[in-house]
Amino acid sequence: QHKQISGVSSGCQQGGCLTCSDYNGCLSCKPRFFMHLERIGMKQIGVCMTSCPPGFYGTRSPERNTCTKCRLECDSCFNKNFCTRCRAGFYLHLGKCQENCPEGLVRSDTQRECV
């Protein structure tokens, strides 16, 4: 529902791009930007952004910042093992997206959470 990609424009004119090529898009990003490898049909280009797209989380390190895929059942996540929003049909509880909720909690379809 939200915008697919924030903080980015395609091609080499992006704000976050440090080095770029016509075929591969961004080859490296400016400091503190995340490098995301985005697939558009048969193409895969590098994109530099301030926050990773839905379904990916950002990992910062002194050398580089990269976007990594969340688990399949997550729409968004804090890290590999901690989801912040679930895909339809899954319900969030303490960072886990499950099809059922623990005892004492019920499934909320609007929030996709155990409440």
Partner: protein, 155 residues
């Protein structure tokens, strides 16, 4: 061991089945000469740096990677080739037009399970041109067989 040349036949999916294939050439790396077929899929050089779960392709695909010396080196080219094959590629095509020492790095390689081909100059430009225009294409890789100038006569 001799480096065998590859024939790369490219058919645009939109022109199938009647479309006449574009025939290009490349060089098989080490002992990886062989036959392969699949949809052309570009991979960014950085996508071959770690085994993060790249999206899984449904059908058979052939990876093409444009190597650029400005990309931070993360793995030897052989490991990148293996990683591309591990991701399910039927074969890997490296465009080495902008990475002079790539070819040298891969010359003495033997143990590749499926074809790895180097392309450059016009052949590379033609392939990457298709990619840039997102022209979905099917690629067949074969070993180039040429009739030598003087056929073998038992003289």
């Amino acid at each position: 061991r001799p480096a065998l040349r590859a024939v790369i036949k490219v058919t645009l999916l939109k022109n199938e089945p009647m479309g006449k294939p574009i025939t290009l050439e490349g060089l098989f790396v080490g002992g990886s000469a062989g036959y392969a077929e699949g949809k052309l899929m570009q991979y960014h050089p950085l996508s071959l740096c770690n085994t993060s779960e790249d999206e899984r392709q449904e059908s058979d695909f052939i990876t093409i990677v444009k190597l650029e010396h400005r990309v931070r080196p993360c793995l030897p080219l052989l490991d990148k080739a293996r990683m591309a094959l591990d991701k399910g590629a039927q074969a890997v095509i490296f465009d080495v037009s902008d990475d002079a020492n790539a070819a040298a790095e891969l010359r003495e390689i033997d143990s590749l399970p499926r074809p790895v081909v180097l392309v450059e100059a016009e052949d590379a430009e033609e392939l990457m041109g298709l990619v840039n225009k997102n022209e979905e294409a099917k690629v067949r890789i074969e070993i180039m067989v040429e009739q030598s100038k003087w056929p073998h006569y038992d003289v």
